[in-house]
Subunit: 75 residues, 6 copies
């Protein structure tokens, strides 16, 4: 269904790891709602509601836990 | 009650692991609401609401933690 | 208060582990609302609401993390 | 402020561990609302709402992760 | 911005660890809303709503996971 | 898209680790809503709602888990 988009959890820096966590979080949404037009339409509702923004940050935090562990915390 | 659908948490690639996380997340719903007709009817309500899409992505993130650990982060 | 219902976290297969995660999630509800009549009455409201179904799947995912770790991911 | 109520995370069985997770979850509430009269009054509202029951089960699941790890999963 | 309030995650007992988890949870709120007058005004709304009390207990549970791991579960 | 803002998860003290967890939580919001004017406008709504404050504290707690593990709990 999907092209290859996730080859590895390893990143060079913690910041790239955080950005990969954002990608995973968005992919979790896109697998459920694959239509880019719908997603674009939902965006303003989404990006202007503090509750939804916090919820987005929460999902990123969970994915960042996974990626940080995969990278042995870049130590 | 259910056929065998989960034989292993091991996947060849991180992306297949992510897709297995999606399967687990959906199975968690289906064990609670097994009627496919009901699930189909609920889908539009679900896939057009940013809050619910983020919640779905959150569950996937939790299941992906489990699968990534099982695969030793594909290292 | 309760009979013995949880003897071990060890299961033969990942799928049985997932089903045990469902049991734990339901038990968490039943310890708070032990009346089976009330629970039966709440069920339709519960099983037809995408938000509540996702929340149920989330709790299962958290319990599955515990059970998967207990079983060393069935490796 | 509080008497000693938590001496150890170690339990004899997984089920006692699950019941300790329930105790921790309730204590988390009681530290925020210590008045038993208020808590009793809130209980019916709480125990008859599927969303709140699932949220309670979620907190129990998180505390059970901690207790299960403390007990090395009773292996 | 803040005085030193967190010197160590190590506590003598699990109960002190749980109480430190409560402190961390409250600090997470105070960094976002530092005005004590506002916080005092919000308290009644907060402490009389079962949903919000469960949410508070959830945050405590997450912080307690961290502290329990830091203390090697007081074993 | 973003300047370098996250060089390391290592901090000198637990408190600096907690403050880094706050930074990560806010960055998770800012990647979704990068417009500082919008964020400023949303702030009062955010900082005066107990539910949203608890949700913010929850995200901080998840990020603090990651940072505390990265620092081996400052032991």
């Amino acid at each position: 269904m999907e092209d290859q988009w996730l080859k590895s959890l390893i990143t060079k820096t913690p910041q790239e790891g955080f950005e990969l966590a954002i990608t995973l979080s968005r992919k979790g949404v896109r697998y459920t709602q694959p239509d880019p037009e719908v997603l674009k339409k939902l965006r303003p509702e989404y990006a202007n509601d503090p509750e939804k923004l916090t919820a987005a940050s929460h999902v990123i935090a969970v994915n960042f836990q996974t990626i940080a562990a995969a990278n042995n915390y870049w130590k």
